[in-house]
Symmetry: C2
Subunit: 204 residues, 2 copies
């Protein structure tokens, strides 16, 4: 299935700027993107990076550049071809198995929620459905599907629910990740330390 | 399957004390516990509350009081009967379907991770396996299973991964919950507001 992976190569994961320099953020974001593209391919998907600007580094997928807002760019791409999946680039815990569950759900609209009311991954099979990533997009997407008579299924996945955009998320990457992004963090000196019985991320 | 639900009735969810009074925290914790017990029963399980002190309010399950540390109390109970599941009382998003996936996984040790390296739900079928909830318990439980030759399966569930113990978690309860705990929050004046495109919890 064609799978769009929205990606901001210029100023990604701004909420990690307390821990990572600008260059480090870009490098870490690129490593998460590579993991997500790999998981998509292993699940049998065909990824396209939907980037807000041209990429500096090579990636293992075609890149479409669209500097409009995320929702506008995705809806324009949905008009081209269905079914289409949309998977966020910072799902560093995404495994092929989790992506496969997304593809295998056969409703008109399949939604994998992110924490905090967001939508981390979608499959769209209904021509009248459009995305809107503003606000509590998970609820908005359920309502939008209902409004056009599209059937809906949700995918209950921890690995798709964790989008890595806050310092606390790095702990989940270090505990559950075993691919490029987790390796990048370890190479950069990050590790898990247990302080008073509670796991924390520290940097050596 | 016998399912232990560890619960602290006296000082639960301390990290919510910035938002809730002591009485409110106890009432909210009791509403989450009731939701979890209901989800366990609907999934065909047989819940027992493993409480650190006698409960003041009635609950729809037998209560065993054990004031020792969580890991000691659970391991003592595991010695009585296998298989046994252990499901945390603050999994306010847990659905019967998610609990069912836990029961249906047929490894010797089944683990549903929580965010931040924790273990939110377990099934134990191997007599030599013991729990240790200190530190990065998810990784420790995988290692402990390996050490006794027990097969392991993980359950990839957002609904089992969210343990409600921080203010940000209330957002997930309000977005994804449709039972007692979500109703309790709404009755107490909590709702989701979208501020600059980002969902936040506010209290009227």
């Amino acid at each position: 299935m064609r799978t769009l992976v929205p990606f901001d190569p210029t100023n990604p994961n701004t909420r990690l700027s307390s821990l990572l320099s600008d260059d480090e953020r870009r490098a870490f974001a690129a490593s998460m993107l590579a993991d997500v593209l790999d998981a998509i391919r292993r699940a049998g998907g065909t990824p396209t990076v939907l980037a807000t600007a041209p990429l500096e580094a090579d990636v293992d997928a075609p890149v479409a550049v669209d500097d409009r807002s995320l929702s506008v760019a995705v809806n324009d791409a949905l008009a081209d071809e269905l079914p289409t999946a949309v998977v966020m680039a910072d799902l560093a815990l995404a495994t092929p198995e989790a992506i496969q569950r997304l593809y295998d759900a056969d409703a008109d609209v399949v939604v994998a929620p992110g924490r905090g009311g967001g939508t981390n991954a979608l499959v769209v099979r209904h021509p009248e459905f459009g995305v809107d990533y503003h606000g509590t997009s998970f609820l908005d997407h359920l309502a939008a599907a209902d409004a056009v008579g599209a059937s809906v299924e949700t995918v209950d996945s921890f690995r798709l629910a964790v989008d890595v955009d806050e310092p606390a998320d790095l702990l989940d990457v270090l505990v559950h990740g075993n691919r490029g992004a987790a390796g990048w963090l370890r190479d950069a000196g990050f590790r898990v330390a247990v302080v008073d019985g509670t796991p924390e991320v520290v940097r050596d």
